[in-house]
Amino acid sequence: MSLFERIGGAPAMDAAVNIFYRKVLADERISHFFETVDMERQAAKQKAFLTMVLGGPNHYSGLDMRKAHAGMNLSQVHFDAVLEHLAATLSQLGVVAEDIAQIAAVAESVKADVLNQ
């Protein structure tokens, strides 16, 4: 059983997005990137992202990640901020530290694409 299924599958992603997106928007380091985006569309993307890192069914590709973040001038600080919120969200959802570390590693794997390296 994947972590995605253990957490509760697709329906649980709604709760996860509400927690995660709120943390992201409240963080001054990164909130300005989300000033003008459509909230519904952004939430859908974050749901897909969370599904991907939790090992749920997804069609997330590095190319999408690269295209979506191109030209945003993102740095390590921004990436770390998102990772922090991801870990805090998972912990709020009752995911144990060991699993969170494993998920963080999956998220780290897209870093080069996100930071356009």
């Binding site: 697709a10 939430a43 749920g56 997804n58």
Partner: protein, 324 residues
């Protein structure tokens, strides 16, 4: 085999076939997103037929009410009629029944009712005969101020000096034909429980749909608090909504008027900032619902504020009106 009709094209599919794959094979693909029932990139609108629960898992109640399904998760379970969930393209014939000035530049327009709708939704009106060439084929969206059980459709329209459509509607003779498209809009009453606190926030003519939501809530027997916050730049932007006194008389309804700049009648409203007012009124919106109507910048800013105050995304319904 089951007969499937999509955007008026008809074909046969095996029972159990995946709807998205079938649409892709025929070049009718809406959009493939994650392909896993998560991202909602492939939403289609089912007009008739059986919807497997998995195809609507995680959708909001307002999405399911509109028959939206994720095509990637939709296996065909019998005859099905569906379409791309864009703006409805059918135009219905209607007729002008009454015009009356409510206050200042707000026109009350009543027309015959060609379709059913939910209170709070809006309609696109197309000009017909007597319209200048500049209005041919032009549609403008107006919110509905009537109740669904009423026999006609009622609009409250701000008539602008240079507004081609609003001027046209203000001067069109009784009995004239109009074409209508709709109903559209996500701001209709859909509380998860009768006790859930509701925020209805609007600026300008967005107040009319909010009145519709409030009336529908009371009619459904809603017992939770309903906060109506109506905002305007200047006091002339506030106008008396017919039927508002009935809403205001309900014990669980509180109505606030917020105007940015003080005017002649500043004892009848609060002068201030609508965002701050709402924040002071509802600092913690966990478990609450928000309905928001008005200019795009207002809608976007308030949506975010409500979300950050704790309201869930699936509990925030907003319609942005472009200035006409």
């Amino acid at each position: 085999m089951a007969q499937v009709e999509f955007n008026r094209q008809i074909f046969e599919l095996e029972e159990g076939a995946n709807l998205l794959s079938a649409l892709e094979e025929r070049g009718l693909n809406p959009h493939r997103g994650c392909g896993a029932g998560v991202c909602q990139g492939c939403l289609v609108q089912v007009l008739e037929g059986t919807i497997p629960p998995r195809a609507q898992e995680g959708l909001s109640s307002q999405q399911t009410a509109q028959g939206l399904v994720m095509a990637c998760m939709c296996s065909v379970a019998g005859p099905l009629r569906a379409q791309t969930p864009s703006q409805p393209s059918v135009r219905y014939a209607s007729e002008v029944l009454r015009q009356r000035w409510l206050k200042g530049d707000i026109l009350q327009l009543c027309v015959s009712k060609p379709f059913d709708y939910q209170p709070g939704q809006f309609v696109r009106i197309f000009a017909t005969e007597g319209a200048g060439a500049e209005l041919h084929g032009v549609g403008r969206c107006y919110s509905l101020a009537s109740l669904p059980q009423e026999a006609h459709l009622e609009f409250h329209i701000r008539v602008l000096p240079n507004g081609q459509m609003s001027q046209y509607l203000a001067h069109i003779p009784l009995g004239s034909p109009l074409l209508l498209q709709g109903p559209m809009g996500r701001c209709f009453y859909q509380a998860r429980s009768l006790a859930q606190p509701l925020l209805l926030a609007a600026i300008g003519t967005g107040m009319a749909p909010m009145l519709g939501v409030a009336r529908a809530a009371l009619k459904a027997g809603h017992t939770g608090p309903i906060y109506c916050v109506m905002g305007a730049k200047e006091e002339t932007g506030l106008y008396p909504l017919p039927g508002l006194h009935q809403i205001a008389a309900a014990p669980n309804v509180r109505i606030f008027y917020i105007v940015q700049q003080a005017g002649l009648y500043s004892d009848t409203y609060e002068v201030g900032d609508i965002y701050r007012k709402i924040h002071a009124l509802l600092p913690d919106m966990r478990g609450q619902q928000a309905y928001i109507c008005g200019a795009p910048s207002f809608v976007q800013k308030l949506k975010k504020q409500c979300f950050l105050a704790g309201a869930n995304l699936t509990d925030i319904f907003a319609d942005a009106f472009l200035p006409s």
